[in-house]
Point group: C2
């Protein structure tokens, strides 16, 4: 467990200690302004050109903004001409790859990485890392020096875990689903969380949640005629994965006015529209708590969603990686598995996949690439197919597997580490709650900015009412307006936010995503610089 | 570094300590015998039905044998009927997933895993694991106890590596290509190996070599009209990945009679045949040293291959994960990068991707999922696309990244660990060489069995001339003949081999792959059981 170092590259509001005047982005070709609303390649398949604009518009901006340097063909006179004899060109590369976009690792983040190079932070780690270190080098477990370095329960835990690993070796391939003993630990943790049983055979350990999402997309998407219902705004893993697998993203809008509410009527409307366009909708993605929107679903709402999936024959893909990140006393996390089971729906009634990760929560061990999916409600034949796809990469990394088991089975009362563990956990979560509130209030105090509260996850997704003059200036700069704002902010302050166009938003509205991860004592300075920048920006562009 | 525990699930000849009579495989449906030569789904795209049998035949067996339980639809009366209300069925699952097969994690291996459950081995690890443990828990680096537990150079190395990691945190996301300092170390290692410069920006660190292969297939394959030239026999990662990405595997045969020789005339012939069938061949896969065939390419042969790729405009995908595994004094590993550069071909002349892994060599840390690809000869625009695809999974696990850097920069003369490191390395490699020779001789002494020598990698791929009576018995048992032999062998002795039909072979010939990984002192017992089994098998079925 590390304080906030862990989520480094998502640490999207941060003071940069240096600012290089040689911006690596500017020499690249950009979309001409007209492309901002009329991208060359439609986000829906070319075989369904008749989609009403209410569906296609938000995705147009997914295509057009934020990441365009990654997907826009270079001019014939560019440096590509030196490679004229190499066999792979933008014309001959897989078009699904060209279509795929991924805002959180896009241009703004690339730029921020440059600025980060001098940043150094000291991790404060305890006790998960102890267990990992001991498992990686078990030769020290029996040595007397080890007791001076590691807590007793970490040593004990390492012994337990090593006993579960065939050969006691963290360097050996495991079962394709992950080490059985660790899956048993995770299943027990799920059962304890939900009050309903969980089966270790339903657990697939993966290198973070992302490969698990890809695996399910691979399973479900046969062609561009297969659609996946995704929230807008959405975490761009989903749009990227659907694009890479050649499917169609069927968007449903979260209602900003009701705190990013998920309305069943909206799901139904978009499902029907997709159907009438010949798209076979296979699954519904729900991100709870929401990324980038930070809302936490109410249990009643979750019941409606389950009912909808059951009635419409959709696989429910539940992204629950922020299940430990809840910041408001009136909201609680309920897993979809628990909701389904409490409604009496079991293995034969609903197909549900729940994604979990070691990258979020209060531990944030994202570099370890640990995660799992719990797969329920699929026939044995389909599970064999899932197993086979998992097998093609042999197994996920064992350290990540161990961490996933630790996350689902944290230190208990009586363990030597328990006090320090709960102290750190509570400290992190209450600090995150304070930061979320401070940032939310600061954003809401800005002219033309409104911001829903961050109930969970790690993000705020404020709406910014940009003046026409700013939108014109963005067009002249060949950027989406929110990307224009984000670039100006980064230039002026070193503060990094991800433009809303990378996540999707109601056409004509502009947002940005910022994390609540900066250290608490740095937030006042960030707020003051943001406020100052915003005032100047509005002074410059106010209509 | 662990002795042979590391390659556990590939440890395909091994004594099983228990044998469960409740075989989990037998109740599953199998291909009816007629399907063995006429699979329902042709391996080539349905749009090219006119392929001559010389191309399609070996792949028929890829489809028909070894893994068929994973891809054969269940009968309507099977247990699937209980799931009739769930949305994903074998009829609605992505057909590319159904088509994908992966022999080394197939039925025989599943069975062997059951047998392995009681096996325990003690890893003997030093000094890579020391570095990893120290990096995972850097809080102990400054403690006096640590000097009693870890060697001085391991501690020093951990400090160096942590200095390269932003935030000194192995639990934080890295740059999508991997930590820059580690890529610099790897590039330096490549330059030292080859005598030609390497660029850290060309390195993409990945969770083992498999995701890197998938990434390249994703980039190259647009539809079933795109073909990838692959050796037959081949490591089934390639057939699986091509199937998952919807492309066409264009096979070229290795010549068993000349020690699995790679003939340019064969490449040309198969390329022309594919072209005449409307397949656009995009890349050539070369596995050197060979898996499952164990041959090591001569440098002259490599030059011809490079010339062929350059002339035909093919991307050269060089699987070089066994580069440290050479067992014969008359052969040496030459990287394709070195061969290209020594021919005067640079960045602008040839598109080359070299795959490397921490899972092989003498270290065998396969559970750590570390690896990299070195990508050269692609235009900046295409490199951005590769970077984007890498970004979609954020980054590979940091422990695997660290190990990849250690593998390419092992302890040097003067380091405290150097003696024990070289001692262990030389011991492992010379022991593997002895095992390879012992097994090769034993196999060649069996009636009807011929086996090329294992020059490199970790495998032998003997040809077995099965009597007609055995082939008839296999048909009756609804198995490919080599799978039938492998099952009988496993049943009788607990020795696991992978049937050749999972790798592809000349039609009408039968092989199996066995590793040279069993511990040296157990090989005599394995040989004697194998010999005894084979004699009885031949007595039972001799024509």
């Amino acid at each position: 467990m590390r304080r906030f170092v862990a989520d480094k590259t998502r640490n999207l509001i941060r003071r940069a200690s240096t600012w290089s005047p040689t911006c690596p982005v500017s020499p690249r070709p950009h979309h001409p302004p007209s492309l901002l609303s009329q991208p060359t390649s439609p986000p829906f398949s070319s075989s369904s050109p008749s989609h009403p604009s209410s569906i296609t518009s938000p995705l147009r901006f997914l295509t057009a903004a934020a990441l365009h340097p990654l997907s826009f063909p270079a001019s014939p006179n560019s440096m590509a001409s030196n490679y004229s004899t190499t066999p792979v060109t933008l014309q001959s590369v897989n078009p699904k790859v060209l279509k795929c976009e991924y805002a959180v690792r896009g241009e703004i983040v690339t730029l921020a990485q440059k600025l980060e190079q001098d940043l150094k932070q000291n991790p404060d780690s305890h006790p998960f890392d102890e267990v990992l270190a001991l498992c990686d080098h078990p030769a020290i477990l029996d040595r007397s020096e080890t007791q001076g370095l590691f807590s007793a329960d970490a040593i004990e835990r390492a012994f337990q875990i090593l006993d579960q690993i065939p050969g006691r070796a963290t360097g050996a391939y495991s079962h394709s689903q992950g080490i059985k003993g660790l899956r048993e630990t995770i299943a027990a943790g799920i059962a304890e969380r939900d009050g309903f049983p969980a089966d270790p055979n339903d657990i697939f350990l993966t290198d973070g949640a992302s490969p698990a999402v890809h695996m399910m997309m691979q399973l479900l998407i046969r062609s561009e005629k297969d659609g996946i219902l995704c929230p807008i705004p959405q975490y761009p893993l989903y749009s990227a994965s659907i694009a890479l697998h050649g499917g169609t993203l069927v968007p449903y809008y979260l209602d900003e006015a009701t705190g990013w509410g998920l309305e069943i009527s909206e799901l139904k409307k978009q499902l029907e529209t997709a159907k009438s366009n010949g798209v076979c909708v296979r699954a519904l993605v729900v991100i709870n708590p929401g990324n980038p929107t930070g809302q936490v679903l109410a249990e009643d709402n979750q019941r409606e969603i389950v009912e909808f999936c059951k009635n419409e024959g959709l696989v429910l893909l539940a992204d629950e990686v922020y299940q430990e990140n809840i910041y408001v006393p009136d909201k609680q996390f309920h897993s979809f598995k628990k909701v389904c089971r409490s409604m009496g729906y079991g293995e034969k009634n609903i197909s549900l996949v729940s994604f979990q990760s070691v990258s979020k929560g209060y531990y944030g061990e994202c570099g370890k690439r640990g995660g799992y999916m719990e797969v329920t409600g699929f026939s044995p034949e389909i599970r064999e197919q899932i197993y086979k796809v998992a097998s093609v990469n042999l197994c996920s990394n064992i350290s990540g597997q161990i961490l996933a088991s630790l996350v689902m089975n944290p230190p208990k009362v009586g363990d030597e580490s328990y006090e320090s563990y709960t102290g750190e956990k509570d400290g992190i979560l209450s600090s995150l709650a304070k930061r979320a509130k401070t940032l939310e209030d600061a954003l809401n105090s800005l002219e033309g900015v409104t911001c829903n509260r961050a109930e969970g996850a790690m993000y705020l997704f404020p709406c910014i009412d940009l003046p026409h003059k700013a939108i014109k200036a963005a067009e002249a700069a060949k950027r989406a307006p929110d990307a224009f704002y984000a670039h100006r902010l980064l230039d002026a302050t070193g503060v990094v936010v991800v433009p809303g166009s990378g996540f999707g938003q109601v056409p004509g509205t502009w947002h940005f995503r910022c994390t609540i991860l900066p250290q608490e004592d740095r937030i006042p300075a960030i707020v003051s610089r943001l406020t100052e920048f915003h005032k100047k920006f509005m002074d410059e562009f106010r209509d």
